[in-house]
Subunit: 303 residues, 4 copies
């Protein structure tokens, strides 16, 4: 089994390494040639000097499989377009990145017009996937889905962390919802731990409690495992800024809920609290303070 | 008609002035003797040098009416207790402050044991009440409620801004819910205006738009009137800190919803956003940022 | 001054009547010919038998003004396209309906290519606009905006309920945010009144309290005026189904907040509670009940 | 080691069995004598015919330990009061139920006046604790906490699921927050799965996806394990009513957040959605529908 991977960053690089360890041949390309060289040297990846070179090194395969692992948006869009003239009927493009599922549906339809199969693969597991294996949820035709099974088995956690969940688009859709749930779970833990810390009279040891909860409690989870480990090293977090980034999937999940007309208040609030953390002017708060002053003469806190 | 007012601060002082203007005799006391002197001098209030003195100056009235206008909590509690030995059966204590309705119920029951009537009066209108008249919602026995009607008529907006809404406790309960709604309305305006401002490509004039909405729109309201006026002077609000205080009633409304087992998400969120504005450490945000780093290797923004 | 109105439904018909009362000549067309005939008969509108006929009856005007008042989406889109060949350079199309502002921006750009001016006008005031006047917030070029001022003055509340707020798109944008705020205010009132009713021991009269709040309280507003009037007739609402419809603007406001990366939790929750009211299967609740049973053996309520 | 357990219901009975299996002697009492007899017969518990009898059967122990496992509130309160005359200085009462931590603090202070130690123990693990071991978080003096260690070791998951977290009250406080987080996690999963199901065009298999996520995904957790198992049997849940019960801890967590002045929107919303599921009249929705009709003439859906 042999495939090409375009994009050898934090995720793509580790996936290449894991595939190589499991006996899959990987042709790798990245604009960062150092990344290509390093994985080739240490893991035996076949280096490519360009996308064209990568595809050409798949010649002889019954069907070429090109896995792209790039930032979502225009970069992924353009890469897919550029691949089409290099591929033949029945070849397969896998987008393993975090693309919007609607884009994946559109791309799949467009590739189908060119006779090229498309698989949209949501990939969970983060930096731990290299050793633990990934969780892979992918969409595509049955034919294409079957063809990539050996790759999925190599990447996945314990040969159980992969599934063909439906047609093109359903892989990234499922991953999007996964991330929405992740936001909600993270926010639930953050709020609860904040309340534990806020109860100053008890002077609770959050490292002790999160470690304890890992054993037999209802909230035990991988997020809790990681949280307990991090808190064991530092529970003041004084070097960390109170700023939480967000990515496309959290936002798309909220838009999806609006599109479906379904209440998803916890997933939504989890995103909105991240927005609040990113806020730097606090204009809405200023407005509220101004209004209180206007009707009640309440003192306004000035800067 | 003659009554005593204990507490001549921002609210109590203006209420005394309004009563005097409407021909009600007012005996006034405050620990701040300057406040007593000023209102006596400019508005003809009968000054009292102590609570005892204030009550004694009601002698001759068929039933003594003492209106207390003090900070909620222990100060109001203690004042009510101290009044009991000074009053006789059938006399009336009115608590016009923002007390928790459960405390008012308890106090009413306790005063009833001493034969003293209790009226809990929620008072809305803020600093504008002096000129516009207040909105008064009060609870108590029918007998006591009838006895204070002339006072309510003098205080109220256009003789329509008062009502006896139910038994002791119901006045402060109704005011509590009023304030809960107020929080929700304020937050709705703040969020909407924040989004107007956030749409930089339109460079909208928030003073123009809020003024416009006052005329014929669905959101026209007194809060909008005040907001438009304030924004006409300054829509950057750069001198105002992004910090929003909260008072008891907003919190009690949320606890009431929990007690009733009723979803009140907007009233609750409006309070919680004020909490978020008051937050200075951002511990929950730090936890989220830490978790993102732990599972995904995402960069943490440092201070 | 003379204009054509396409669409004489609940909103468009009343706007035609108001314009006619204020001395503006109106050519009117609707696929419902009865609507055309009725307004012509009772208000002196010039009837048109088709869109073409309506436009032709504007010949002689220095620049033709066509106001469309149609359901948002494809109907409005197609009408705008169909108008282009009928109009000349410098003529003006006004979309007074509830279109998505992004669509208005796109349409404005497309019309500009054809030399036609576009005004996107958000219209608030509902069924009360006929008598009270509307609140009109509109976007467009300065030239076009100036040209429609006499129309806006005739439609608006007290000659103050209109404003040119910015470029094309900004009118519908401002109206969208207006409606988002409206959702939040409505939900705040609904939650508060629900808690008043839920406090059974006080047996509160919601008609009395909402009427009271109209006079001097902080929450006084037009929504409260209407609510008090409705509750005066019926406060049990037993004939009304607990189902709340939602329209595009509420949803677009939430998507806008996500696009801006701004927390708008109250506007969002107000929409989501409407979604919850529309829900008929309660699948998420079933899932929660199933989980409680799975970990705690808690009894599941069956149908 | 020997202790008495008062209350042999779903939780207490299983805890008695687990202790007996691990070589701890248990004297058991319950008003349901069948429960007493059954555990005595099958697990060798020493049966008691009354609370007095249970305590007397601890005579000879260096310090008596009585573990109560009763519904929170008055039943627990009264049992603690009734135990005092039966115990001696230095004896220990453990409340392993779901009491409000403020009550536990009060009870601990009162028992201390009588020379009796009090331990408030939050117990997680549900019906799975018998086999898997429980997660126990308890508060109390160091002396008392040390004395019960062998019991905790026998009850706990893998000898790691127990910890002395702080003074009296801190055990139930920690359990309360644990349950608050649990509500948030459950709601996050419910919303996400609801959106998966709502995307009808993909016809997703929720049993497949939840099983998949158990392997290597970021949301893997015990709640997911249970959910996947349940969905494998039935993913329509058609026999389950869309009604979600709530218990004290979820509510107390929200009140705690209000008391601390800390935003905990996700924990709060998770509770409020349960309230919404319990709602049967939908009065707030009726109000909203009425308002829409009042200002916009929008049709009201009738029953």
């Amino acid at each position: 089994m042999k495939l090409a991977i375009i994009g050898l960053g934090k995720m793509g690089g580790n996936m290449a390494r894991r595939l190589l360890k499991h006996g899959i041949e990987v042709v790798g390309f990245d604009f960062n040639q150092d990344a290509v060289n390093q994985i080739s040297l240490t893991n035996g990846m076949i280096p490519a000097s360009s996308v064209e070179d990568a595809v050409s090194k798949l010649s002889g395969e019954p069907r070429k499989i090109v896995w792209i692992m790039l930032p979502s948006g225009d970069i992924t869009e353009n890469q897919i377009k550029d691949l089409v003239p290099l591929l033949s009927k029945g070849d397969i493009i896998v987008d393993g990145g975090n693309s919007n599922y609607k884009h994946s549906q559109r791309r799949g339809a467009w590739l189908a017009e060119h006779g090229i199969e498309f698989i949209d693969c949501g990939t969970s597991g983060g930096i731990w996937g290299l050793d633990n294996g990934y969780c892979l949820m992918y969409g595509g035709s049955k034919d294409a889905a079957d063809a990539v099974v050996p790759i999925m088995q190599a990447l996945a956690h314990a040969d159980r962390g992969w599934a063909h969940v439906g047609p093109v688009g359903s892989g990234h859709f499922t991953k999007m919802i996964h991330n929405g749930i992740e936001y909600g779970m993270m926010q639930a833990f953050a709020e609860g731990l904040d309340l534990l810390k806020g109860k100053e009279e008890f002077n609770l040891d959050l490292a002790q409690i999160t470690e304890l909860w890992r054993h037999g409690s209802v909230v035990r989870s991988w997020l809790l495992d990681l949280t307990a480990e991090a808190l064991a090293h530092d529970q003041e977090l004084s070097a960390i800024a109170p700023y939480v980034a967000d990515s496309g999937e959290g936002r798309w999940t909220v838009v999806e809920a609006v599109d479906q007309g379904v209440a998803a208040p916890v997933l939504t609030l989890a995103l909105q609290m991240r927005f609040a953390s990113q806020e730097d002017t606090g204009y809405s708060y200023k407005l509220l303070s101004m209004m209180r002053n206007a009707f009640g003469g309440h003192a306004v806190k000035t800067k």
